[in-house]
């Protein structure tokens, strides 16, 4: 999966990929103060494509809000909401909404799930539907955090660590492997990284084609940009 960190104050964005063996679960957000955590499990292609590169995607997310006593499990098949010992199951094939005192859910048929947890977080999960008989690819999900201002300063995780901003500088722009993707040197978190200007896609407005987001691409699973390395974010279960 690809990660995009948009930084409107800098009119810029950072991006990186994280890949691991299919089945690995990564922690995306963990805020001990508000009791929110988001974990995601990746899945691989059906079989090795001709180019030999197995892509991985998120196919399941587990979202917990301990204070509100809410758990959500969102997969490419369905959406389950657990609260107060009860389970509500919603299907991607229906447009549905669920209004609770502490939570709003809106499912747009075969497209998106918008979740607003009271006084804490708002996010969107996009469903990317792939032709069922596609020889290699499967359905997968995207996770977009829309409002982060209520997270605490100790929020962490592969996405969460950027919610309070990140300082970096880019210099020494130079020709890269392809003319439209120049390389540069990035100074971030005390590291000096070789980065590449490229494009990644934001699918919120156009779930099929996406919109290009120019960004500085950090190679090697975001090493140097993320705190520690990607394996530090592997967790044993969705909740």
């Amino acid at each position: 999966p690809h990660f995009i960190i948009e930084l409107p104050d800098k009119n810029d964005a950072l991006c990186f990929n994280i890949n691991d063996r299919p089945g690995t679960i990564f922690n995306l957000v963990r805020d001990p103060e508000s009791g929110i955590s988001v974990n995601g499990q990746i899945i691989g292609d059906k079989k090795t494509p001709p180019n030999g590169k197995i892509n991985t995607y998120f196919w399941r997310f587990g979202i917990v809000h301990q204070t509100l006593g809410v758990r959500l499990m969102v997969s490419t098949q369905d959406i389950s909401v657990f609260q107060g010992g009860k389970r509500v199951k919603l299907l991607w094939s229906d447009t549905a909404s669920l209004k609770r005192p502490n939570m709003d859910l809106l499912v747009q048929k075969d497209r998106s799930l918008t979740v607003t947890l009271k006084d804490s977080v708002k996010f969107v999960i996009l469903l990317h539907k792939v032709w069922q008989k596609h020889p290699y690819h499967r359905d997968y999900l995207g996770f977009y955090t829309l409002d982060t201002h209520l997270f605490s300063s100790s929020v962490h995780g592969l996405l969460g660590q950027f919610y309070n901003g990140i300082e970096y500088e880019v210099t020494d722009l130079r020709p890269g492997a392809t003319p439209e993707k120049p390389d540069a040197t990035m100074y971030v978190r005390g590291h000096e990284l070789n980065v590449t200007r490229g494009l990644q896609r934001d699918f919120r407005r156009d779930v099929k084609n996406g919109e290009d987001v120019p960004c500085w691409f950090i190679h090697s699973n975001g090493n140097g940009l993320i705190d520690g390395d990607a394996t530090d974010y592997i967790v044993s279960g969705l909740f």
Partner: protein
């Protein structure tokens, strides 16, 4: 010190009957009244807008709307109290904020009101400020954009300066050869009257056209005569003001260390403009001055290990060095500043610098520290401890990513000041302009003394420097309203010898000075004193010692309320007339802080950037498939 104005805005169904900007300056204290009158000619009620721009250094002191004989007047309240009304307005869907940042030096005040068919509305906004002398002149700017033809359009400026006027200039960006003769200027010894009042036909872009040529900036610039070294002291109604900028003082040599941020974010135009400005600044150094160049990213490097005399040969060598400064790396402000401080201190210790000279560090940076010490408060502490009050720090914050308040506080803690440099084609000129303001110190450690038994509440009377082309202003309240003279003493350190002058301050008889004026505005000295006191208290509340801050804030609030000034601690609440659905809607005029201005510029910058792809304001953090 600038003014900027727009009249009531219009649709075809609104007739703007008059727009008047009336500015009265009395001893540098400017009192401006903007009046706009409009008629709703439509057969139904409609919204009429009033948009004006005022200098960010000004305080609004009054606002009113007159609709069908009923006057709605603004009331200055403590910000927190006003906020409750603001929240009510917001929750009912109203736009409650009236003041927005506009450009580098202005704030935009806008209000709209629903006016019945065939009815008139008159808006009146008043604001006040003390004009600051820069590069040997005071400037009043009125930006006029009436948006349509106006039946009666008038800009009037009256200047009363008891010291006498050295010159008065009036120009405008929109003045063609046809309009130029319409600027009427009458200057006598102590008074100037400038007016500009084109007829509706003269406003037209072409005969029969509805467009107006009146769109741009109208400037009045002037200076006063300066006789005597004591300066000018005016006593009026129990308050006094002392203007100190003696003529013909020799400049004091300076020892300037230029600390230049060349980190990666200076890439492109910013580093080019920095190089251009530095080359121009080096050319202007006097041969008695000493200078050093320190460039930094996450590493620090100096041109030479100590300060160098500004001889022709040394300057030529330094210019070559400057031409080769390239952007690279991260930002370590702490280490760079400490290196500069140590260099100055060491050279002082080793007697390499002239004894009577001023030590200054000029920092230029565009970003937050992200290498070495990151904590801005610790950097402030480190720099303050290192300078020990022995040198001045001037900070230039380049662009919108810079934490201006960090630089502002750090400068003030070290006898200096900060300035924002806006990313634009004229950034080189902005950099040079700031340097010119501080390049020629005339005196250091200036103290202005007034007898304790005569003066009660005094604004700041110690100044680290007096720069050529600027002016020191001190105001105070007299213990006895009827007192009409007292002794004044000014001391400072000048070139070659100490500066010391004593004299008698005497009340001026305004009736004799201006016999033809029935009334100018009688309490201006008191309001000037209040304005200056509040400005200084607001500074203390931001950059003073922790124990001073709370007191200064409380006192500034009390005085803002007492003198009806909209400052960062107060808001003006205006209650609009009831709408058709029976609800009234309070509106709030606030004073923006520099941080708020910067934030709004960041947003404006994003929206105006053609390459901006961001679909919304909030940053988004996402993970998705390819």
């Amino acid at each position: 010190p600038r003014r900027q104005t727009r009249g009531a805005t219009t649709s075809l169904q609104v007739e703007v009957q008059s727009v008047t900007m009336d500015c009265t300056v009395t001893s540098r204290f400017a009192h401006t009244v903007m009046t706009s009158k409009a008629l709703n000619k439509a057969n139904s009620s409609q919204e009429i807008f009033f948009e004006v721009e005022l200098p960010k250094t000004a305080f609004i002191s009054n606002f009113s709307m007159e609709i069908e004989g009923q006057v709605y007047v603004g009331e200055v309240k403590e910000k927190e109290k006003a906020k409750k009304q603001y929240e009510k307005a917001v929750s009912s869907g109203q736009t409650a904020g009236l003041v927005k940042a506009s450009g580098r030096t202005m704030e935009k005040f806008s209000v709209s009101v629903n006016i019945a068919s065939k009815s008139e509305v008159t808006f009146v906004l008043t604001y006040e400020e003390l004009l600051q002398r820069k590069k040997g002149q005071y400037e009043i700017l009125t930006r006029v954009k009436p948006k349509s033809l106006v039946q009666e359009f008038k800009i009037v400026t009256n200047i009363y300066e008891p010291q006498g006027l050295a010159f008065v200039d009036a120009t405008a960006t929109f003045l063609s050869n046809d309009l130029l003769p319409l600027v009427e200027k009458t200057v006598t010894d102590k008074k100037a009257h400038i007016s500009f009042s084109p007829t509706i036909e003269q406003q037209r872009t072409c005969p029969g056209c509805d467009g107006t040529v009146i769109d741009g900036d109208f400037f009045v610039r002037y200076d006063v005569n300066r006789a005597g070294t004591l300066g000018d002291i005016q006593i009026v109604n129990g308050y006094f003001v002392h203007f100190f900028a003696p003529p013909d003082l020799p400049r004091v040599p300076k020892n300037a260390v230029f600390v230049i941020d060349k980190s990666g974010s200076m890439f492109g135009r910013k580093i080019e403009q920095t190089r251009e400005a530095l080359l121009a600044i080096l050319k202007d150094l006097h041969k008695e001055d000493y200078f050093a160049l320190i460039e930094f990213d996450h590493q620090i490097s100096a041109w030479k290990e100590s300060l160098t005399r500004a001889t022709m040969d040394n300057l030529a060598e330094a210019m070559n060095y400057v031409k080769n400064i390239r952007d690279q790396g991260a930002t370590d402000i702490n280490a760079a500043l400490l290196r500069a401080v140590n260099m100055l201190a060491k050279d002082r210790q080793e007697n390499r610098l002239p004894e009577r000279s001023i030590d200054m560090i000029i920092l230029l940076t565009d970003g937050m520290p992200n290498s070495g010490e990151h904590n801005t408060m610790r950097i402030q502490e480190n720099v303050r401890a290192a300078t020990g009050g022995n040198m001045s720090l001037f900070c230039l914050g380049f662009g919108n990513d810079v934490d201006y308040s960090f630089l502002d506080v750090m400068s003030k803690q070290n006898k200096g000041l900060a300035r924002r440099i806006f990313e634009a084609a004229d950034a080189t000129l902005q950099l040079q302009g700031f340097y010119e303001e501080v390049a020629n110190p005339l005196l250091s450690e200036v103290d202005l003394h007034y007898p304790d038994n005569a003066v009660d509440v005094l604004t700041t009377n110690h100044f680290n420097q007096l720069f050529n082309g600027s002016e020191i202003v001190v105001a105070g309240r007299l213990r006895d309203d009827h007192m009409d003279n007292f002794m004044v003493e000014v001391m400072g350190q000048g070139f070659e010898e100490d500066f010391k002058v004593q004299g008698q301050a005497s009340a001026v008889d305004w009736g004799v000075l201006y016999p033809d004026e029935d009334y100018i505005f009688g309490d201006f000295t008191e309001r000037l004193w209040a304005y200056l006191t509040i400005q200084q208290l607001l500074d203390t509340s931001r950059s003073g010692e922790p124990n001073e801050k709370a007191n200064a804030t409380a006192k500034a609030l009390e005085m803002s309320l007492q003198y009806n000034f909209v400052t960062p601690l107060t808001s003006m609440v205006v209650t609009k007339p009831e709408t058709e659905d029976g609800t009234d809607s309070p509106l709030i005029a606030d004073k923006l802080t520099e941080e708020q201005r910067q934030q709004s510029e960041r947003v404006a910058h994003r929206y105006s950037s053609p390459s901006s792809y961001m679909p919304q304001l909030q940053p988004t953090y996402l993970v998705d498939g390819d």
